[in-house]
């Protein structure tokens, strides 16, 4: 089992950042790697179990299923159904925690998955930098720092 963990500090209140990221269909609005997204079968984006079908800027297609969404804990958990990456059993969680010292929040994005041993390092680095940290960098720019 491989694990990726990335965390950062966003200069916006946890609620403001959550408002931006809780939309399971909203990745193209804030993540620079995502070109388009739609929710399958006409479900609402906050209906647990819904599937988002989206494309990266390079054209790759990914389908992910919403496993859990909590407005109370500010967490979003999802799995990959189909992707071009050589991995299986991928489950990721995005979590926000308020920082009482200043109007900012602590953001964590982690994933567990299985893959061949020779692919692990590239996958861990690629997902950690290109997906998770790239998303945090975009949020940091959006919220000013």
């Amino acid at each position: 089992m491989a694990r990726v963990y990335t965390s950062s500090v966003i200069n916006g209140s946890a609620q403001a950042v959550w408002d931006q990221v809780r939309d399971f269909n909203g990745l193209p609005k804030w993540h620079p790697s995502i070109a388009d997204s739609r929710i399958e079968d006409g479900l609402a984006a906050d209906q647990v179990g819904c599937i988002r079908d989206f494309h990266l800027q390079n054209g790759d297609q990914i389908r992910e299923q919403l496993l859990g969404l909590s407005d109370y804990d500010m967490t979003c958990t999802y799995s990959i159904l189909i992707s071009p990456m050589p991995l299986t059993d991928y489950v990721a969680t995005l979590r926000l925690t308020p920082i009482t010292d200043g109007d900012r929040c602590f953001a964590e994005w982690s994933a567990d998955f299985d893959c061949a041993a020779e692919d692990e390092e590239d996958l861990v680095t690629g997902i950690g930098n290109d997906v998770f940290q790239a998303g945090f960098d975009a949020l940091k720019r959006h919220f000013g720092g």
Partner: protein, 153 residues
Amino acid sequence: MVKVVNSTVIRAPIDAVWHVLRDFNGHDRWHPAVDISQIERGRRSDMVGCVRSFKLADGSALREQLLALSDSQTSFSYCLLDTPVPLLNYVAHVELIPVTDGDRTFWRWQAEFSTPRGMQDELVDLVGNGIQIAGFEAIREITEGAAQAANLS
């Protein structure tokens, strides 16, 4: 029952912050409110269940018991056994989480307790400002200075 939670970000790696915080008997070396502290019955300070007996600068004596300690979660929990201040059923939890973006540390400190009628505001202020935030600032001074010196050298 009231819950007081404060959190901050320390500009130092988590190992440096945890090194100072995990010693349950070490608070007299960093927390400005604590004068002297010792672990009862000659136990080690990382033995879960040990009791720290300590005095504040004003001479008041307190006893706290370590309920949980985890190096993998970088967290510990403790409760108050004896205190001159009416903090009742007081249980506190300290948790550190790494901020990978910039090699910093997120620190969350939570306390839950009951108070006698009419004393809640005063005691919430004591715990939030006098214990938690004062502790943040003391650790910030110790660890951020060391992290800065390490970067310069």
